[in-house]
Symmetry: C2
Subunit: 257 residues, 2 copies
């Protein structure tokens, strides 16, 4: 227990495993149970804490890509080898620091109204995501675009946990008869959070409380205009053939242009 921190992404300390043991496949806290009592020098908790702290410090000031392992080591007063001893790469150090540094900054409201719950929650989430620490969310998504394994880990360790929370709010709304149950719950979550996250990434729109409110209001109210019978389509379905994607994006003959 003392010898191993709670660092969920760190390498396993299993003696047999030499180096290239990737943390992604590593169980969370495999050791401590049937481990044959460690013999040599013990892992420095101080060094580990310093690494995570230094990582957070740097990541709050510049994008993940520009934070170097050397800089982390220097700031933490630790050798770079120590970092790579416990984490397979820089991104996972960052994710670990992020997870450790969050400590539930976003709460789950329960006001009795699903719409109000989601409004408060979205405002809270966006306030966090636009903070120095929260901005890491985008950095991780960005990193994931060139590292599928990392993206999967990020989903599992962060995204899904968040969605589980939000799903509870959705479920309550459905049970209370506030939310149409024929809309898939996963889509509901993406309807609520997707628009603002898109803005967060692309930077094309504001992210203030007002927008969070407007998004939830629109999602709940719908775009369709309901008064004096003008709810539906103006005309019946018309198939437009030219609206589809052009073929020829075959992966094989991808020599476009």
């Amino acid at each position: 227990m003392i010898e191993n921190s709670g660092c969920p992404l760190a390498r396993s300390r299993t003696p047999a495993s030499p180096r290239r043991r990737c943390a992604i496949a590593t169980p969370l806290r495999s050791e401590a149970a049937n481990e044959p009592k460690a013999r040599g020098r013990r892992r420095s908790l101080q060094a580990e804490a310093a690494i995570l702290k230094a990582t957070l410090y740097l990541l709050e000031r510049q994008p993940l890509r520009k934070v170097t392992a050397d800089a982390i080591a220097r700031r933490a007063g630790v050798s770079k080898t120590t970092i790579y001893k416990w984490w397979p790469n820089k991104s996972l150090v960052a994710l670990d620091a992020y997870l450790a540094g969050m400590t539930e900054q976003v709460a789950m409201p329960d006001t009795g109204s699903a719409e109000l719950d989601f409004t408060q929650q979205l405002k809270s989430v966006m306030a966090f995501y636009t903070s120095p620490l929260g901005r890491l969310f985008c950095q991780f998504l960005a990193e994931g675009q060139s590292d599928p394994g990392f993206l999967a880990l990020f989903r599992e360790r962060f995204l899904y946990a968040r969605r589980d929370t939000a799903r509870v709010m959705w479920r309550r709304g459905v049970d209370r008869g506030e939310i149409r149950e024929e809309v898939d719950g996963e889509i509901v979550l993406d309807l609520i959070y997707g628009p603002m996250i898109f803005r967060l990434l692309a930077g094309h729109g504001s992210l203030s409380d007002r927008e969070s409110e407007a998004v939830v209001e629109a999602v709940f109210g719908g775009l369709r205009r309901s008064k004096n019978g003008r709810r539906g389509r103006a005309r019946p379905d018309v198939t437009v053939s030219g609206a589809t994607v052009q073929p020829g994006v075959n992966p094989q003959e991808a020599e476009v242009v």
Copy 2:
């Protein structure tokens, strides 16, 4: 005209400007008008085309970060110096290749119904974004997370053009009385596209035609359940979907990571 291609992101050819001239601040086609007729050897259109083609080829096979300038030069049969002569960095070569290679792969439907328009458009967009070329969209967003200048350029050269198109569909819907006009148009666009783009980036959900339809239906119908019966449609009329792409054979049907 012959001497300069339409490459919108390339460096300006102004003789006075030596190197460090960033394309971001460069006017699109400043030359050709009052330029004192070029003297020396002319820019090789062949080399430029080869660079863009090679870049696309590589980018359709691996993420932007893993495509090196050396690899582009090698595949294009061109000196690396030639690349850096015309583009300030790799990312802008990629963006240029992307813009040049798209040639309007996604059309704007006009069916007479805003909801149907958006459904078809979203399906079309997502089919493109999940194609090898379209996947670059995510790469650019990712790149932009550590390079604000690039992100701004991406917004201007790509995102805003797309949104202008989509805004037309929204406007038509409002004018026809189909869409509640009190919902801000920019938010409408993000409501439609945000959820799927979020999925595209995080890889936590499917991106098939079915989801596109469900998103638009939910956005138009709203989540809120009215007291007397339901407000939105239980099932969207998606009869058109069969006319466009066959779901079974669709490569975009698969869950993307």
